[in-house]
């Protein structure tokens, strides 16, 4: 897939001297969902804001669809839709008019059929004549997405799209994002909810202290940095680990009935077969086996702590 966004050596130092971004390089492929993870103040929103034209970069270059965001800002911005973190919406305007406004602002002629499609896709068609202030929080968030889609952008930025929304609405938002991706829209989202990135993203980028620590395919990231755990449930409790099992660096549960074995998913051999053989040789009988993979959250925390 060709890159729709190319970021080269992008840096941002605010007037107060705070370095928000430092030499960020990133390519985002057309049609993918990229999740940007990072702690508060890591630089996620600054990165998005620079690409969208809300913040002026200190150094570096960004191209969207091959257009430089400074010298060809019209062409670059026309390709972008932005859903901000805060619910910022004109309270006294009607839903349908806010979409028409967004479309006009981005230089697209009025197209009621497209506006209707967007509103229907976001389950807002019935509310088209309602004033924005009359909508629930979840609906306002959907209006923000609808506004961002009103001018048919190729790239959609979602800055913390599900911050502060309930579980059912979050799942609803995820569904919307999947449908957008299916329609060919490139999506870049920042999130605090790692489960969200795990659920939806094709690739994960981790930003910390203004630096892009890594960008990996989600599955590869999980394999590369993730660890698996095998929990062996015994039929009877142990007081201490037998000496023959010490090389496996097992953890014994406090009640002595479970042995926990951690192994690297990248290793050529997991060592499970040898472990089970050693357990049998030690005269222990097994009731059950459970395997677990570390979550993206654990991977993320591990990465950030490792870098710190």
């Amino acid at each position: 897939m060709p890159s729709i966004i190319e970021i080269r050596d992008l840096s941002k130092v605010y007037a107060g001297g705070t370095t928000a971004l430092s030499e960020v390089n990133l390519d985002i492929a057309e049609g993918e969902i990229l999740a940007l993870l990072g702690p508060n103040g890591a630089g996620k929103t600054t990165l998005i804001s620079i690409i969208c034209g809300l913040v002026t970069p200190s150094a570096g270059q960004v191209r969207v669809g091959g257009h430089d965001i400074v010298s060809s800002y019209r062409a670059a911005r026309a390709l972008i839709g932005l859903v901000p973190q805060e619910i910022s919406i004109e309270p006294f305007e009607r839903v349908i008019n806010t979409l028409r406004f967004s479309r006009g602002l981005f230089g697209k002629p009025r197209d009621d059929a497209h506006v209707e499609r967007v509103l229907r896709a976001l389950s807002l068609w019935d509310k088209r004549d309602s004033m924005n202030k009359e909508l629930s929080g979840g609906m306002k968030r959907r209006v923000l997405i609808a506004k961002a889609l009103a001018h048919e952008p190729k790239v959609l930025f979602l800055d913390e799209p599900t911050a502060g929304v309930d579980v059912s609405l979050r799942r609803e938002m995820w569904q919307v994002v999947r449908e957008l991706r299916a329609a060919g829209t490139t999506i870049i989202l920042t999130t605090h909810y790692i489960a969200e990135a795990e659920e939806m993203a094709d690739r994960i980028g981790v930003i910390d202290a203004g630096r892009l620590k890594l960008v990996r395919d989600k599955t590869a990231l999980m394999q590369e940095f993730g660890r698996k755990r095998l929990t062996v449930e015994l039929t009877g409790p142990l007081d201490a680990l037998p000496a023959s099992l010490e090389p496996f660096e097992l953890a014994l549960s406090p009640d002595g009935t479970r042995l926990v074995y951690s192994y690297d998913t990248r290793a050529e051999r997991s060592g499970i077969a040898r472990l089970l053989a050693a357990i049998a040789s030690a005269g222990l009988s097994v009731r059950d086996l459970v395997t677990e993979q570390s979550s993206l959250e654990e991977v993320f925390l591990g990465l950030v702590e490792e870098q710190a």
């Binding site: 034209g53 019209r74 910022s88 230089g107």
Partner: protein, 253 residues
Amino acid sequence: MNWLAIRAIYSVEMARFFRTIWQSLASPVLSTVLYFVVFGAAIGGRIQSVEGIAYGAFIVPGLIMLTVLQQSVSNASFGIYFPKFIGTIYEILSAPASFLEIVAGYVGAAATKAVLIALVILVTSFFFVGVHIAHPFWMVAFLILTAVSFSLLGFLIGIWAKNFEQLQIIPLMVITPLVFLGGAFYSASMLPPFWAGVARLNPVLYLISGFRWSFFDLADVPVGVSLFAVALFLLAGLFAVWAIFRTGWRLRG
């Protein structure tokens, strides 16, 4: 040129005006009627004429100018400050629109509102005094140029303001005094020589003088100077807005 962006901003701003059309018109019309009653009838009854013009008629251009300046500044400053306040400014700043297009939308709408209100006041004045317009073309030209220039000033105030108090302070503390001291209700020639000299430092004097000339063919300063002053004000405003968008001052991080 992104004409559709200009139209989108202009339409939304005008829609807000028409949503509250009665408040928008009632307040300035009521104020003007009160001015006519107080200055035109009560005080004006004791001043027969100024430079051959009945006092009630003499104050009409000044009253219209007073309203145009106040409305231009308040409409334009609120127009850009409100999106800043509620956060929707992100959409304006991320749109494929130049500073000129954004300004044209907001300032165009603010100036249109001010001109509409001015015309309503002009019509209202016909009910109180006989007003003859000597140069209708120049009257409209001065009206539009002044409305646009002060809408630009209002736009700058809206960008500068960090709260509603700041939004109000310039119109209250600067614009209104300048209009009152700029000859809205008198001719600068009526002032003692020293104060007449001081009055010439007031830019609003040139606007009111030019506008009054378009009504009565008499002015405190030559009409060419008035036109030059309005044009200068307009260019200064445009330059300031251009510089703000170029640097992102109080708009972009």
